[in-house]
Amino acid sequence: MAGAGSAAIVAVGWMFGAQAIAATTAATSTSSAGANTQSSASSSGATPSASASASASASGSSSNAAGSGTNSGSSSSSGSGTTTSGVADGTYTGKDVFEPQFGGDVQVSVTFAGGVITDVATISCNASHGADQACPMLRSEAISAQSAKISTIGRATYTSRVYIQSLQSALDAAGYTG
């Protein structure tokens, strides 16, 4: 009886854990999906100023091909990005950084478009209950700061530190100096 009851209790715990894991995976995928739409929105929102001049120069240079014009527009926008940060468009993956105090780990990747950080995706954010909520907060901080020089989140100091370390390693991989 004690054995069966204990097994049932453990099973309930397992069930909750499985649910929590499913919920986090769903949350990260939706949040990253959300981030994608947001980043595309922000990039489309952010590009106008850059692409306005770029498209002007593009339209000035070649008006015969609209397609190539948009192409050159985007490339020139990346070109103009290159002039500011020198980072080629693409996604750069940071190190999986282990957090010794809690036994968690954090790994992020950074997406550059037009020389600016358009998204920071969380590949893994294994931390304690409260602390894994720090990752989305740190993400928005990083995007708005456009660097890894962001402040740590209260009650998630250790998680914040490794998040920043992983972010910095991604930026280093991109050759981004902020």
């Binding site: 009851g5 204990s6 715990g13 010794p100 105090q101 036994g103 409260g130 602390a131």
Partner: protein
């Protein structure tokens, strides 16, 4: 068969059992069965709670996405380390509860069994906590590509909570090692006591890191209040039942020594009186830890069984001079104030499972047997009392037992004389050579509860004989006086 040896056939007037307790009538077979059933129910309930508490911490670990730890070998080591810490600490709290003198534990398992279980858990808990530390150092080390010692230094550098956790580990190691040495070398009780105070240090110092570094019990989780409640419950039980209740009882009942009577030159019977003693619900067969506030005695309390059934007005113990404090008791004066912890113990009428009984006592161990027999509720068609002593004088209180046996119509066997040399037996040489066994001394033993009190090694032999006679383990009731 020695049935009232001729040397002892000077029957006194049967002692009238005066009692001031309510409902002082013999238990009916139905009552005995019902009480036994209730007790078995409680025992199952408490045992199940212990199993469930282990299951709950495992469940909490899993609910906190614990299974993700087993994705890689390094993380699996970390996960196992966390599990070891959780289960180890849970059982450590169980150990505290077992030593806390919780009334329900004492009434269900008996104080001696609770302490025996407490002691049995000591080593496994220690190994689990050691494993907790070791596995986490290795696991973290593997994950951060550093060695466990460097990892330990990192952890030590991460704040006061982890420093305290290492202090706790050190304290626990000292407690366990000295406990083992004490058992082997028989070091003094006082030394053991001081060392055991360190275990409080271990438990308390380990707490902060469980709530700060231990991510399972982080703020805002369900696990946090649960764990906190467990800790408060177990530490609180110790404070309440080991300190506050005894102090309150001592203050309320104001025990004072009223009579000191030498039975033989080395055995003394001490009677104490106090206020509202019937409210203590003390039973014949139980013991208390007594502290006599006289020069040379007040520093330490000693466990002594009642040598007469507490009758609501007075309580009585009979003590043999074994040197030290017991020697000073021989010359104690009436009027000495007494404080106490208790009553404890399960060698009582309440732990009977059936209507027949065999009571076996040796030497000074006869005292609780006598008190148990005197309990007004204790009576049955089939009771046999067996007393033993190396000499006639060592069959302490025999004449009082004789009177009680006459009054209660109980068979009495007295086995006098040394045990035979080179033979493992609890019997006197005479009885042994005659071919006596428990089954011949008490033919109804198979259907009886067997109550035993005497020296530990001797009791073990009686228990063996009882098993051989077909007595199931739950009908054998012994009281062991070891700390």
């Amino acid at each position: 068969m020695t049935l009232l040896d001729d040397r002892y056939t000077t029957p006194g007037v049967p002692q009238t059992v005066t009692t001031y307790l309510p409902a002082a009538r013999q238990s009916t077979p139905d009552e005995i069965t019902r009480r036994h059933k209730n007790r078995m129910g409680r025992a199952d309930f408490l045992t199940v709670i212990v199993y469930f508490s282990v299951a709950v911490v495992l469940a909490l670990f899993l609910a906190d996405k614990g299974m993700t730890y087993f994705a890689s070998p390094a993380k699996a080591i970390t996960g196992l380390g966390i599990i070891a810490g959780l289960v180890g600490t849970d059982l450590l709290l169980v150990m505290l509860l077992l030593a806390a003198r919780l009334p329900i534990v004492d009434r269900t398992f008996g104080h001696d069994k609770a302490i025996a279980t407490h002691r049995k858990l000591g080593k496994p808990v220690f190994y689990l906590i050691i494993a907790h530390m070791g596995l986490l150092l290795i696991g973290y080390g593997l994950q951060s590509a550093s060695n466990p010692i460097a990892e330990a230094l990192t952890l030590l550098g991460s704040g006061n909570d982890m420093i305290l956790a290492f202090v706790a580990m050190a304290a626990m190691t000292i407690v366990v090692v000295t406990s083992l040495v004490i058992v082997r070398r028989k070091l003094s009780y006082e030394f053991w006591y001081v060392v055991h105070l360190l275990s409080y240090v271990a438990v308390l110092a380990a707490l902060p890191h469980q709530f700060s570094t231990g991510m399972l019990f982080a703020e805002g989780t369900w696990a946090r209040p649960y764990w906190l409640a467990l800790i408060i419950l177990s530490l609180g039980s110790i404070v309440v039942f080991r300190f506050l209740v005894p102090i309150a009882r001592s203050v309320r009942h104001r025990l004072v020594v009223s009579e000191v009577r030498l039975e033989t030159p080395d055995v003394v019977t001490i009677t104490v009186t106090g206020r509202d003693l019937h409210k203590l619900r003390a039973r014949g067969g139980q013991f208390m830890n007594w502290r006599f506030w006289a020069p040379g005695l007040a520093l330490k309390s000693n466990p002594f069984s009642f040598s007469a059934a507490p009758n609501g007005r007075s309580m009585r113990i009979t003590v043999r001079d074994l040197g030290g404090q017991t020697h000073r008791l021989m010359t104690m004066r009436p009027g000495t104030p007494v404080t106490f912890e208790g009553p404890y113990g399960m060698l009582t009428e309440a732990s009977r499972t059936t209507h027949s009984a065999v009571l076996i006592g040796s030497g000074i161990g006869i005292t609780p047997i006598r008190a148990l027999l005197e309990d007004p509720r204790f009576g049955a068609a089939n009771i046999t009392v067996i007393l033993r002593g190396s000499t006639e004088e060592n069959v302490y209180l025999w004449s009082e037992v004789y009177d009680l046996c006459v009054a209660k119509n109980v068979a009495l066997r007295v086995l006098v004389g040394h045990r035979p040399r080179g033979v493992e037996t609890w019997l006197s040489a005479e009885a042994f050579n005659r071919g006596d066994r428990l089954a011949t001394l008490a033919p109804h033993i198979k259907d009886s509860d067997v109550f035993i009190c005497g020296p530990t090694a001797w009791m073990d032999l009686v228990v063996k004989d009882a098993h051989r006679a077909g007595v199931p383990a739950d009908r054998i009731h012994v009281e062991r006086f070891e700390f």
